[in-house]
Amino acid sequence: MGDLFYLGSRYISHHRAKLLVLIFAITLVGWLPVAIQIIVDQTAEQLLERAENTPLVIGAPGSPLELSLGSLYFRAKTPARLNYSEVKKVEATGYARAIPLYYRFRAQDYPIVGTSSDYFSYRGLQLASGRPAALLGEAVIGSKVAETMSLGVGDPIISSPESVFDLAGVYPLKMPVVGVLAPSFSPDDEAVFVDVKTTWVIQGLGHGHQDLNRQEAVGQVLKREGGNLVANASVRQFNTITSENLDSFHFHGESSAFPISAIIPVAPDDKSAALLLGHFQEEREDVQIVRSRRVIAQLLDTVFTVRDYIVVGIAVVAIATATVALLVFYLSLRLRSGERFTLSRIGASRLQVQILMATEVVFVLLFSAALAALLIALTRQYGISLMQQLLLA
């Protein structure tokens, strides 16, 4: 047996290039369909988990998918606008508390999410350091934001202008970081949280500026109309909110008409959630309420369909690969007819010759299977994060 093993290993060593190609091809066709299955399943699990944790979302009429992705993952680039008055309307139904979300603005690559303090308790988010945002202009950042931007409590984070060409637009707002969230393995790790009123300041709906009644502001006053001062555009506005200038910040117009992107209604039980759903579906045409799990599940149906097409394609490739492998083995056996003759002439039995010939096939199949199993295990463990790096890169 030792002789056979020696001869077999010598053969494999001598034909390693050919065998490596075979192993590579067979490993790929064995690993790919399973890997796709794993990644799609894990993706689906991630998506559905967040959607299940946020069963209802309210937003402006439009695509339910964009509303769900935006309010769950803060990824919408130009979210549709909803009036803040809708928050009060949801609460007035008595079926749910309403958590506003306004995710239009960004700080570099990270979304700035304007919300209320209820969001943190709703998501079960814990602070790793610092405290919750209490004042206008304060920010609490996710763990990945803190890590990648090297920010901590006391550091400032600056909102990014929506357009570099908007010279007359709103100045970036410098916000002190007062808290850093502990990792939650969710999109919350990659968000900057502020009070919804702070996002209105970023948008320019609220601002702080010098007191127009003071002597030094005379040059900025266009005219006085009764009890109203009309100021020109040169009024110096504050681009950071401090304890000294906090009281000067104010909003022009009614907050009920100010924009938000979505509302997460938090119903105390399933019955209240069903009543809220019925209320909005039957009585309101100007807003939409979506069951995010259903929307994400529909999206995943599409993902699964695409996955099935890919798997079918790979199955065809696998058949072709198997055929080519068979041909390679067949030709290899043909080429080794002289070797078989020599072996029988030097006294090898028929069984020993057959075992030696089968060594090549068994080695290739076993090695490919082991490699594919290893890759599948790695995919299960690290595949989704590798995909993340590849896609985000």
Partner: protein
């Protein structure tokens, strides 16, 4: 339902799902704090209403230090965090707590008790507003905020507090409703008492120590002139002179609090009758209802003297 645009979202879908590889935390539908639930009120009337409506079931807090007028109170960050942890934050409305505009509080927990009476809010005269450009929206001026001195508005505020408590704890709604009826009956008694005084005070010249009686004046037809006098700070001679120059024969001076001995003596010297009408905004040993009943007792005594 899905169009081509949605297929383009598939890579995005992968990206967003791939953001986290660990187990996402489950949302908590209950408060994370282990602390017992509590209600925060921003002034003494609201503290009294809430305390009477919930009884011993929930703690009601008035975080304003005793020495500070709740209308002037500016909460610290620690106090704001206490407000964020409250199940309900009872605000007065009419610009009573202007700091609310610049702090982070969940709107679902905040109840502006005088909101239903917004059309009745009294806009202050002489307040400067401003706009940025002729077409710009105006920033608001101010409102008079001692709304509860009009007992019809106090009832609206009590009802708003009761409604928010019942919504938050529906299991107690019957009991809250019964307690509200009792509270409203007491406020009605106060209303009748003030109206009775108003009939006696017809034709009298009324001077108020501070501009905090606007709703009281309007509700009971007791219009007068408001000064900015503190009961424990002696006004200057010129202020006294100005006051005495405009005094009629049946003038009545209303103080927010008991004036000092020196001021009292000066008032007696002028022959000026005065009375304390305490709005009861600050926490004191006596509750808000007792303070209002004490007001009525003093006014009633004044009426008897007047006769």
């Amino acid at each position: 339902m899905f169009n081509f645009r949605h297929y383009l979202l598939l890579p995005l879908c992968f990206c967003v799902a791939l953001v986290g590889c660990g187990q996402e935390q489950k949302p908590s539908h209950k408060r994370a704090e282990a602390e017992k639930p509590y209600i925060v009120a921003v002034n003494n009337p609201l503290y009294y209403f809430a305390d009477r409506l919930v009884g011993d079931r929930v703690e009601v807090r008035l975080p304003v230090p005793d020495e500070i007028d709740p209308a002037q109170w500016q909460p610290s960050v620690d106090e704001l965090l206490q407000l964020q942890g409250a199940e309900l934050v009872l605000l007065n409305g009419a610009g009573y707590s202007p700091w609310v505009a610049n702090v982070s509080l969940a709107s679902g927990r905040v109840v502006t008790t005088a909101e239903a009476a917004r059309p009745s809010w009294i806009e202050l005269e002489g307040q400067m507003t401003h706009s940025h450009g002729p077409e710009g929206d105006h920033a608001h001026g101010g409102y008079a905020f001692t709304t509860w001195m009009d007992m019809s508005l106090a009832k609206i505020q009590a009802k708003a507090a009761a409604s928010s408590i019942s919504s938050r704890w529906p299991q107690w709604s019957d009991d809250v409703s019964a307690k509200l009826n009792s509270l409203l009956a007491d406020i009605d008694d106060l209303d009748r008492g003030y109206r009775a005084f108003a009939t006696i005070a017809v034709g009298r010249q009324l001077i108020y120590s501070h501009p905090v009686y606007q709703y009281f004046e309007r509700a009971y037809g007791l219009e007068g002139h408001s000064l900015h006098w503190e009961p424990d700070i002696m006004p200057s001679d010129s202020q006294w002179r100005k006051l005495s120059d405009g005094l009629g024969s049946r003038a009545l001076f209303a103080w927010e609090g008991e004036p000092s001995i020196e001021i009292t003596a000066r008032m007696h010297a002028l022959g000026l009758q005065f009375v304390v009408i305490d709005p009861g905004a600050r926490r004191s040993e006596a509750d808000w209802l007792s303070l209002q009943r004490a007001n009525l007792s003093r006014l009633q005594a004044l009426g008897n003297i007047g006769r």
